[in-house]
Structures are given as C-alpha cells and as structure tokens.
Amino acid sequence: MTDQLTTDPTKPAQRIGAGSLTVPLIPWVLAAALLMVLPFIFTANSAITIMNQMAITIIFALAYNMLLGQGGMLSFGHAVYAGVGGFACVHIMNMDDFFAQIPLPLLPIFGGLMGMGLATIVGAFSTRKAGTVFAMISLGVGELIAACSVIIVAFFGGEEGISGDRTYGMPFFGVEFLQQIEVYYLIAAWLLISAALMYLYSRTPLGRMANAVRDNPERAEFLGYSARWVRFFSFVASGFFAGVAGALFAINYEILTEENLNTTQSGLILLATFLGGVGFFFGPILGAIVFTLVQTVLSLQTELWAFYLGIVFVVTVMFFPGGLAGLLMMHVPAMRLGKLGRLGVPYLKTLGSGAIGCLGAAGLIEMTFHLRHASAGDHSMTLFWITFDSHTILPWIVAIAVTFVGLGIARRTAPALAEAWNEANTPDGAPR
C-alpha cells in the first residue's frame, strides 16, 4: 500500500502525508534508544528504582489521559483499575503451579485484562454521560472499591495488603528477574509497547471520534456515532493500560496495598497528568517524569514537598492550563520563525530571578516549618547546603531579601519579556 503511494507519480506522497497523521518513527526510535542506555548513565540502584517508578507512572498517566485529554472524561477514581490489575497479578504470582508456566513479562497482560474487565463493568453505566455525572460516578466507584479493600480481605489482603514473589515465574530466556536492572528492562519494554499502542489508538477511527465526542458529543451523534459507546470504548481501553501499569507495579514492588487504589492515588495521577498537559500526547509523559522526581527526589529534601506540588498544580490550572507540554509547544511558532534564541536573555532575566525569589520564599517556608516543628532545642537546620541556626535573625533577613529582590527583578523585567515574546512571534517585516 505504502509502496504504491510513493511510486505513483500522479499522487505525490506528501499529499497523503500532509494532515493525514502518518506515524512519525523518529521520536519512537529515540525513546527506545534512551530507554536502553539510561541504566548505563544512571547506574545507582536508587536511580533504577526511580526510573522504574517513573515508567510505571508514565503508562498510568498516558492511560489516564485517554480519558481526560482524549475523551474529555474527568475521573476521580482511576487508580482502581491499576490497583485491581496489580492485585490480580500478585494473586497470580501466588498461584505457584499456574505462575510457574507463565513468563513474567507476560504477566502485565493479565493485569491489563483485569483492569479492562472492571472498566467494562463500571463503564457500562458510568459513560452514559460525560462531565459532572461521570466525575461523580468515578469518585463513588473509587471510594467503593477502596472501601472493599478492607472488607474483601481474601482479594485485597486487608490493611497490610498482599505480597508475592516475581521470581517464581517461568524463566524468560534464562532471566529470572532477581535483579532490579532486569525488571527495569521488562518495565521499559512494556512502557514502549503501551505508549506506542496508546499513540496508535489515538490515530484510529475510534480514537479520532473520542476527540470529536470530547469536543461536541451532540454533533458526533448526528454523524452516526453514539457518544456513549465511543466513551465506553475509550474507558475500557484506558482501563486496560491502567491495569498494565498496576501489573508492572506488582512486578516491581511485589506488594500491593489499599494505598494503590484509593482516591489519593487517583488524585495524584490526575495531578501528574494535568501538570504534564492533557492537550498533547507527550504531556502525561512529561508530567509523570516531573511528578516522580518531585515525589522521590524532592521528598528526600523536604517534608513539605506535597505542599510545593500543590502550589505548582494550582498555578498550572490557573495560568497554564496546557501544562508543561502546552508551555513547550507555545514556543513552536517562535522556533519556526528562527527567533527562539532571542528569548534566551529575557528568560534568564525574568525567570531566573523569579526562580531565585521562589527559592527564597521556599526558604522562608522551610524555616518557619523548622521553627514550629523541630524538637525543642534543635536550632540547627540545613537549607541549600548551608547549615545555620534557625533561631537567629540573620538567615531570616537573607531569605526575605532574596525573596523580595528576586521577585522584584522578575516583576521589573516582565514587560521586557512580554515585548521579546511578541517580537519573537512576529515574522520579520510584518506590521506590528
């Protein structure tokens, strides 16, 4: 088919290519290569642990975005499908005879089918309407199943959850997945497969109609499509990939608890996805990466990480509804005009000083927190690699000064940045 198109002289190939959403291969090849070499760059065990968690979160966030970004369905209970998929996989791990006949890399399929099965049941009634009704049902079902985890102890294991051992599976070409690095490659492979499948899904007739139903369900109905069925199929597909993410979690951690499917978890994936940006396919990937870094790296630095994350989330919702991906894509027009470089200096001035101001403010918050919550007599705290006495006045003066000077400069230079932005987005010679 493709050969015919390119060799047909009357129909240049680019005509088919333009606007017809052919699948670009290069980003995928790069992603695969990156996943291959990452463990050689970050060799520490802790780094591999973080990357595993990141990859799992990426799959989950992409699955979530099939609903939120692609289908316009806001779910407050999507962790349920990942969680149930994960629980099912731990149970499979504990079925000695059965598990001994399945290679571990195939286990996520079972997790996916479990998530998909549950999504089929719930989706049958929850996808009737989008919007508030859907959101409320998702919240209710999420709470309901989270509550089940302490009631149906046989499946969910009560408060302590259930654990298994991934190494009892059938060896996969001699690999028994005893080491973290082997698990990394298993998860990376699944990440690549899942992301590719979800990307391809968005290019199918059903995937396109999911967008159409999101934008205008009534119009879609008058084009022959039942908005409800389109939503249902998106929901089921999303449930499958959420289940895959849950299964990978089970493989990686070998334990699942109520925490994996409660509403907190559902909220976090919403947060990560939105932070990354729901409008672009790669948005949730960015979101999951940043979110995991905040959750793992920043949480080692400060107890208040969730507080900062909350602020960032609110700022994103209010000022950058396109998320990180939206912010990046904003620069495409300037890049096309070849004027992206002109933003460098203004950015450094405004955003650099703004960032310093924010760090100052964070310092103030940390010091206040230390003052209020450190044990009595413990006056010494370390902030930005400097150890000082939080009960003396000097650090406070410094932090306040940094905050005000930083934010002040940012504010002063903001008009110049806006000017530079307009300039960079105007073609040369065009009337302003």
């Binding site: 007739p205 967008n211 205008n216 022959g224 908005a227 389109v230």
Partner: protein, 251 residues
C-alpha cells in the same frame, strides 16, 4: 412510492405547553422543502423531533416508510438523515480536515474501528479532500475549525452534514446572520451539494426560500396552515394574513 419523510399527527408538549399541535406533512424524494413561519412557531422543535433530539408526545415520523419513534439521533443518522444546526455546531478544536473526516468515518464503514489508522486510508483522505473542495475550504484544511470566519464555519457545517452521504438533508437556518454576498454564496453551495437529495430547511430569508425551495410549508403556532409550491403559498390568503405579508414587506 413512499415519501422520503412523512409526519403523521405529530404533537409535542413541554409540560402543559403544546408547541407542535398536530403536524401532517409528506415530503417526497428529491424534493427541496422549506418550512417557514414566524418566530416561536415551532420550526426548530419540529426539526428536533424529526432528528431524534426530542421524543415526540404523539403521532408518527416515518422516513422511507420506517418509523423513527424511540430512535436515538445516531440511529436516525445511520438510516440516512443528516442535519445542521441553527447555532453553528462543529468541532472547534479539531482541524477543518478532521471535522470533515470524522463525518465520513461511519458511512465509510469504519464504525468503532480501533485497529486501522485513519491516516493510512487513501479513500478517506481523498473523500475528505473532495468534500473540502466542494465547500471551498481546501485552503483552510489544516486550521482549527474554531478560527474560521462565520460564513466559513457555516459552510463547514454544511460539509459535515452532507459528508456522510445522507439522502435526507435538514438545514436549520443555514443563512442566519449572514451578509447578502455570503447568503448568495451559501445558497449556491446548498444547491450544488444537495443535488439529487431530499432537502428540508428552516429559513427566514424569503429570498433564499423562494430561490431554493420547490415546496413550502408554513408553520404557525405548531400547525401547518399551508403547503404547496412557492407560487401557491405566496398567493394563499391565509398565509398572507398570518405571516407572509409582513415577512414579504421586510424583504
């Protein structure tokens, strides 16, 4: 020969208010039928009943002899009826090309297909480009539909409406809010793209109605007071009295 569309004792009430008070109407195949009437006569409600947006309170709607009672809009659409809306109703965030392509998917048999790539189908791409050419929006192909001018959006909506190959086309005030030149353009467009199809439209602009329709029905307070050729309707004293005299003066 069965009529393309047949309304039989059709009634619709919202609460105690009867909006459609018994409409009998038969529209033949290939006919261009305009429904006119004063504001609040129930023209849009009639449209919404036929297309399954609202359920009727009483009576029957038959398309090609088949009863439409209890059918959802998407089912009615699949039977070969397509409509446009009084307020532009497109997919504003999607490109013009995608708007049209989405409206081709069902009729080209893709249904809820999730195993083939839309970009790969040459028939789909060419079919879409053909429609874009018909509605003269080829130059706007890759723009988001929401940024088009009003007249272009109306043209796009007509494109979406006819793309699926429905043989009964219903247009709800296709020229509402347009300038004279835009109106002329849209009328020509409608004439061209509905060639050989059954066209039912609600329209206020008498120039459009008398220029385009070969049958006219006058709806006043939920009842059809006259149906016939433009000349017969124009000459009908009841119509003159109820509506047309005043409407004709304006135009």
């Amino acid at each position: 020969m069965t009529a393309a569309l047949e309304l039989d004792g059709l009634k619709k009430s919202f609460g105690k208010t009867e909006i459609i008070r018994g409409v009998d109407l038969s529209i033949g195949k290939g006919e261009r039928h305009a429904i006119i009437g004063p504001n609040g006569a129930g023209k849009s409600t009639l449209f919404n009943l036929i297309t399954g947006r609202f359920p009727q309170s009483e009576g029957h709607i038959r398309m090609h002899g088949q009863d439409l009672a209890g059918k959802a809009p998407f089912q009615i659409n699949r039977m070969g009826l397509s409509r446009s809306f009084q307020i532009t109703n497109i997919f504003p965030k999607m490109s013009v090309f995608e708007n049209v392509r989405c409206s081709l998917l069902w009729s080209m048999g893709y249904r809820y297909n999730f195993w083939s790539m839309v970009g790969r189908s040459r028939a789909l791409t060419e079919g879409t480009d053909r429609i874009l050419d018909q509605i003269n929006l080829t130059a706007r192909r890759d723009l988001p539909a929401g940024v088009l001018s009003y007249a272009e959006q109306r043209a796009l909506e007509i494109g979406i409406t006819i793309a699926g190959g429905a043989d009964v086309i219903m247009l709800d005030e296709p020229t509402a809010g347009m300038s004279h030149s835009e109106t002329d353009y849209i009328v020509e467009l409608i004439r061209a793209v509905t060639e050989g199809k059954t066209l039912i439209m609600v329209e206020h602009d008498m120039g459009v109605v008398f220029g385009l329709a070969d049958q006219i029905s006058v709806l006043v307070y939920g009842e059809i007071i006259a149906t016939g050729t433009p000349e017969a309707v124009r000459a009908n004293p009841k119509v003159q009295e109820a509506y047309l005299g005043e409407a004709m003066e304006v135009h």
